[in-house]
């Protein structure tokens, strides 16, 4: 993952620097959801007990992120986590375009065992 480009229209922005930070960090969060976060069960027990086994994105996995703040003048909306749910579908589409195989489960895998 090299670059993610985002655009958000929240009507207007009281704190553009903070608003952009919400988008940047939402993208990182969304990448974790798309590619890393996974809780697995073995003999009825969760296998992940700490950050050595539960993977979160780290600094070297944070791509370049473009943030476009669009001021349309519409009624203001909130910014909290707004970017998060957009990332997994975008990454899944990019992977499908790259590999020709579409994955239906998260986290997405490099070599999908059950690609549809």
């Amino acid at each position: 993952m090299h670059r993610i480009t985002t655009a958000i229209d929240a009507g207007s922005f009281v704190n553009p620097l903070g608003a952009a930070a919400m988008v940047e960090s939402g993208v990182i969060h969304g990448l974790g959801q798309a590619l890393l976060w996974e809780i697995t069960l073995r003999a009825g027990q969760v296998e992940q007990g700490n950050f050595d086994s539960y993977r979160l994105p780290r600094m070297d996995e944070a791509p370049a992120i473009d943030v476009e703040l669009i001021t349309s003048g519409a009624e203001r909306t909130g910014m909290g986590e707004a970017a998060v749910p957009t990332v997994a579908p975008a990454v899944a589409n990019a992977l499908a375009a790259l590999t020709g195989r579409r994955q239906r489960r998260l986290p997405l895998k490099a070599a999908p065992a059950e690609a549809v």
Partner: protein, 191 residues
């Protein structure tokens, strides 16, 4: 009893030799700026300096401490640490804040070494420090801003010059956020 130097002050610690430095700092000395998170050296939230080098205090035993300790409470007395903190404020890095003591200690240790500062070096030095909020892009930009401020301070008058990002981003009418170009990094490792 073990004699330590913490943030420039000598202190006598009456604790078992295997006590992790994290709990010496938090429980014995009341320095709660250093945070407990994973407890196994996997997340970096508890990072402090021993003799200027970053260590994860949750897995560093009292008996292993062989140099002066610096924590987030003391880092601003160091010119690099102060520059890092100022860059963090300028770029509004912090969100929930829990990991940020460790992030600032890791960044200060990185900028205290004379090595060049490529994106790969920033990534390698900061990889140990997890941030669940995902402030990595802002941390990377703030490290570069701190490095720029430190270079300017060495050459003189530009130290307090405003950075571009605040001014550009403060323009609410702008369609562009005005944020600085963020570096392209290595791909997510599992894909």
């Amino acid at each position: 009893m073990k004699r330590l130097t913490v943030n420039g002050k000598g202190v006598d610690i009456d604790a078992d030799a295997s006590t992790p430095l994290l709990w010496v700092l938090r429980d014995h000395l009341g320095l709660t700026g250093t945070k407990y998170s994973c407890g196994i050296g996997a997340c970096g939230a508890c990072t402090v300096h021993i003799a200027g080098k970053p260590v994860q205090s949750c897995v560093t035993e009292l008996k292993a401490i062989d140099g002066p300790v610096t924590t987030i409470e003391g880092v601003s007395t160091d010119r690099v640490g102060k520059a890092v903190q100022e860059a963090w404020v300028k770029l509004d890095v912090v969100q929930c804040g829990y990991c940020q003591s460790g992030q600032i200690m890791a960044a200060t240790a990185l900028l205290s070494s004379p090595a060049a500062l490529s994106d790969a070096e920033i990534d390698a030095a900061m990889r140990a420090a997890l941030c669940r909020c995902g402030t990595y892009p802002r941390i990377r930009a703030a490290i570069k801003e701190a490095a720029r401020a430190l270079r300017s301070a060495q050459s003189g008058p530009l130290f307090n010059a405003p950075i571009d990002v605040g001014a550009a981003a403060a323009s609410a009418d702008s369609r562009r956020s005005g944020l600085p170009e963020l570096p392209v990094c290595s791909p997510m490792q599992q894909v």
